[in-house]
Symmetry: C2
DNA sequence: CTGTATCCGCCGCGATACTG
DNA sequence: CAGTATCGCGGCGGATACAG
């Protein structure tokens, strides 16, 4: 079972690619993590924004919309004044937490190795 | 332990961010996976390119360089004619395989759910 | 409070051509 | 076979202003 095997094609619409696209938007995994680890799976817009230093309203909304489209979260609107919107992890989203957390855990465990070897991505020589 | 906890800051240079940057380059995880699953941890340039349909020489080289810089792989040059270059997973790289594989596995397990819910990233409503 | 609409710089990445 | 250099497009994502 070497180079000839066809059990994992790299087509555009294959599962692995789909997953990677979830990371294409920079904030997706951080929103997921924050929603889970800091707020037990549900939180309102403002709360999320305060929990994610540096994110803009635009990217927050955009990221949440895409996550909703992907079925990772749901969006509930309370028709009151002022409006209150709550986002909640779906079962699919909650199952996605484990892989993401493992990724983060790996980062923590190997932070020193990365510190020593990575100069910095995107650093520009002049 | 709510919004006040400080056990996971989102600073630019924190571990989680570092990990996400490894995915900033589209092909990184696929090269990692291919190197591990198809070639037992080591392979030459040409072999990798054939195993990754759609990748260009430019992106292959660029991705490999960044992975080398991050300490995920090593680069061995055989000074012969024509030149033969082999890339090999480092211990750090091999440890990174598990989280990535789990991510991919999640994609496979939930491919149907994604099929049903994801219209397509970037699709624009008018 | 939540969300939308522009303007715009930066950069990932593909296509192409050339070197050793 | 392995790698570099250039050009160009698309899109992420930040800043800002406006709306319900």
């Amino acid at each position: 079972m070497d180079a000839g095997s066809r059990d994992d094609e790299w087509r555009e619409d294959c599962a692995p690619r789909r997953v990677l696209e979830l990371f294409a938007t920079k904030w997706t995994s951080m929103v997921l993590h924050t929603l889970h680890a800091r707020h037990g799976g549900a939180a309102r817009t403002g709360v999320l924004q305060r929990s994610l230093p540096g994110i803009s309203k635009k990217m927050l909304t955009q990221t949440l919309r895409e996550m909703e489209t992907s079925g990772l979260i749901t969006r509930h609107v309370e028709t009151v004044v002022p409006p209150a919107v709550e986002y909640r992890l779906t079962p699919l989203g909650e199952r996605f937490v484990a892989p993401v957390e493992l990724l983060y855990a790996w980062g923590r465990d190997n932070a020193d190795a990365l510190d020593a070897l990575v100069p910095r991505r995107g650093s520009r020589r002049r």
